[in-house]
C-alpha cells in the first residue's frame, strides 16, 4: 500500500469535491447526493460549515435550504444582479395571499384558507401555486370529509431565500399576536407552521390521490369565486 495520506489532504480534497458538486448543480443537494463522493467517515456537517465560512464574504454564498445546500449569489448584490425580465407572470393577489396563508398556517386545508380570506378559493389558484412548485399536497386531515392539507416545498424556501419555514418574515410577531390560529378563539395555543413530516392529524396521500376534495368542491360551488 501507499503511505497514508495526511488528514489535511483528505480534508482539502473533500472540500474541493463538495465545492465542485455544489457549483455544478442547479438544485440544492442533500447529504445523500454528497456523501458518496467523500472519503469514508467524512464529517459532512463540518465540511459544509467550513465551506460556508469560506464563501461567507464572496460573491456567491453557500446557503441552506431545508436540509439541503446550494450556492447562490450573495443577497447584498441583489440590486446589481436584478433581472426583471425573468418574472414570467406576476402572481395574482389571490394567489399571493393564498401562498402566504399556506406558508404561515401549514398544514392547512382549502376551507381554512377560505376562512382566512373570507372568499372561496378557486381551484386554479392552488394549481398555479403547485405548478410553480411552491405548494404541495401534504396529506389528508383526519376530520369528516378528509380534506387535503397543503404545505410549502423546498423550492418555496429556495425561491424566497429562506433557510427554513421558521424564518418566514414576521412569524414571531404573528404567533405572538395569536394570528396564526385558523380557528377561534384566538386565545388558545397557537400552532406554528410545519412543512416537514405529517402531523398526527394528517393521513398520507394515496399514490393515486388526485387531491379532489368532495366536500370543498361542493362548498366552492356555493361561493363566489376569486377568479
Amino acid at each position: 500500500m501507499e503511505p497514508e495520506i495526511p488528514e489535511s489532504d483528505i480534508q482539502t480534497r473533500n472540500l474541493r469535491v463538495l465545492e465542485a458538486l455544489l457549483f455544478a448543480a442547479k438544485e440544492p443537494l442533500g447529504a445523500e447526493d454528497m456523501h458518496p463522493f467523500l472519503s469514508d467517515n467524512a464529517d459532512l456537517a463540518d465540511l459544509l460549515d467550513q465551506l460556508q465560512q469560506r464563501y461567507q464574504h464572496a460573491g456567491v454564498n453557500l446557503v441552506k435550504r431545508g436540509e439541503k445546500y446550494a450556492f447562490r449569489t450573495a443577497e447584498d448584490l441583489s440590486f446589481l444582479l436584478r433581472r426583471d425580465d425573468v418574472e414570467q407572470k406576476p402572481l395574482s393577489r389571490a394567489a399571493l395571499e393564498t401562498l402566504s396563508i399556506i406558508a404561515y398556517h401549514q398544514p392547512v386545508t382549502r376551507s381554512e384558507i377560505e376562512e382566512v380570506r373570507g372568499v372561496a378559493t378557486s381551484k386554479g389558484t392552488l394549481d398555479v401555486l403547485m405548478e410553480a412548485g411552491w405548494v404541495r399536497m401534504r396529506g389528508r386531515r383526519r376530520t369528516p370529509g378528509r380534506p387535503v392539507t397543503y404545505g410549502t416545498t423546498l423550492e418555496f424556501l429556495d425561491h424566497f431565500g429562506l433557510e427554513q419555514i421558521s424564518d418566514l418574515p414576521g412569524l414571531g410577531e404573528l404567533k405572538g399576536a395569536g394570528l396564526l390560529s385558523s380557528t377561534l378563539p384566538p386565545d388558545f395555543s397557537v400552532p406554528k407552521p410545519v412543512d416537514g413530516d405529517l402531523t398526527p392529524d394528517e393521513d398520507p396521500l394515496e399514490p393515486d390521490d388526485t387531491g379532489d376534495d368532495l366536500l370543498s368542491e361542493l362548498e366552492a360551488a356555493n361561493k363566489p369565486s376569486d377568479v
Partner: protein
C-alpha cells in the same frame, strides 16, 4: 355562479391600502359631487375579494390600528354601503348580503345589554371575532407583501446559470445464480444422452401381472383359502416377496371390485381369505 359587478365611483376604491384617510362615512357616496360620466367605472369583484375584504378596507379608513376600530360604526358603514348599492339597483352577491345580515344582528346584540342566561354569543364576543378575522386577513396581506418583496431566486438571487451536466453511463450487470449455472449444465448434459440406453431391470410385479397370476391360481375354487398360501412359491425369495405381496393384494382388491372374487378377514392381522365369487350370488 354569481358574477358580482359593482358600478362604483372608482376614486373611492382606488387606494384601498392607504391607511391614513378621512374617516369613511356611509353617506360619502351621495355627498360627493357626482363626477362626469367617465368618473363612473365598472368595478368587478377583483376590486374587492368578498365582504371581508370590503370590511377590511372600510376599517382601514376608520383607524390606523385595527385593535381600536369601532366595530359598531364599521357595521353601520358596511350596511350603509350595501344599502346604497341596493338603492342604485346594483346586483349584490349573496355573500355580501349574508355578511350584511350578520352585521345587522351584531349591531342589535351590541346595543342590547348582554343577558347571562343567553346561550348566544354576546355582541362583544361577536365583535371580537370580526376584529380577529380582520386582523388576521390584514396580517396575511402584510406577510404576503413581505414575502413577495424578498430577494427572489431568478430575479435578485441567482443559481448557477450554466450547471454542468452529469453524464450517466449505463452499464449492464449480468445476473445469474450458482444454482442456475449448474442446472443449465446438467439439463444440457442429460439432453445430450443417447436415448437408447437401457435401464436395469428390477423385479416388480405389475398390477396386471399380479391379477393374471391370481386369476390362474384361484381358478374356480369356491372354498375360502388364505391368499398367502396361493402365493407361497413366490414369497420364498426375499427380492420378490414384497412386490408379490403388495401387487397381489392391490390386484385382489381390484378383482373384488370387478366382482370376480371375494375377500374376508375375520380379525386384524388374521389371514386374508379369498375365493371365487359364485355367479348366482352376484345377480
Amino acid at each position: 355562479m354569481l358574477t358580482l359587478r359593482f358600478f362604483l365611483r372608482h376614486d373611492l376604491f382606488k387606494q384601498p391600502n392607504k391607511a391614513n384617510q378621512m374617516p369613511f362615512q356611509d353617506n360619502d357616496f351621495t355627498q360627493q359631487p357626482e363626477p362626469p360620466r367617465q368618473g363612473v367605472m365598472y368595478v368587478d369583484v377583483k376590486g374587492y375579494e368578498g365582504p371581508l375584504d370590503l370590511l377590511l378596507d372600510l376599517a382601514r379608513k376608520q383607524k390606523v390600528d385595527l385593535a381600536h376600530i369601532s366595530v359598531l360604526s364599521l357595521a353601520e358603514q358596511y350596511l350603509g354601503f350595501i344599502e346604497t348599492l341596493k338603492e342604485r339597483r346594483i346586483e349584490v352577491a349573496a355573500d355580501y348580503l349574508v355578511m350584511a345580515a350578520w352585521l345587522a344582528y351584531l349591531k342589535s346584540r351590541l346595543m342590547v345589554p348582554h343577558d347571562d342566561e343567553d346561550e348566544e354569543p354576546s355582541g362583544e364576543e361577536m365583535a371580537a371575532l370580526l376584529q380577529f378575522r380582520l386582523k388576521r386577513l390584514e396580517a396575511m396581506r402584510d406577510a404576503a407583501g413581505k414575502l413577495v418583496n424578498r430577494p427572489r431566486l431568478g430575479r435578485e438571487i441567482h443559481m448557477r446559470g450554466d450547471p454542468e451536466t452529469i453524464v450517466t453511463t449505463k452499464t449492464k450487470q449480468w445476473q445469474a445464480t450458482y444454482y442456475d449455472l449448474l442446472r443449465a449444465y446438467v439439463i444440457q448434459r442429460e439432453k445430450a444422452l443417447p436415448k437408447d440406453y437401457s435401464v436395469k431391470v428390477r423385479t416388480v410385479w405389475s398390477l396386471s401381472e399380479a391379477e393374471e397370476i391370481l386369476e390362474r391360481l384361484i381358478g374356480q375354487s369356491a372354498e375360502w383359502v388364505p391368499l398367502q398360501s396361493y402365493l407361497a412359491e413366490y414369497l420364498t425369495s426375499g427380492e420378490e416377496r414384497q412386490t408379490a405381496l403388495a401387487s397381489s393384494f392391490t390386484a385382489s382388491l381390484e378383482m373384488v371390485r370387478q366382482g370376480h372374487i371375494e375377500l374376508r378377514q375375520s380379525a386384524p392381522f388374521s389371514p386374508l381369505m379369498v375365493r371365487r365369487k359364485r355367479q348366482s350370488e352376484g345377480s
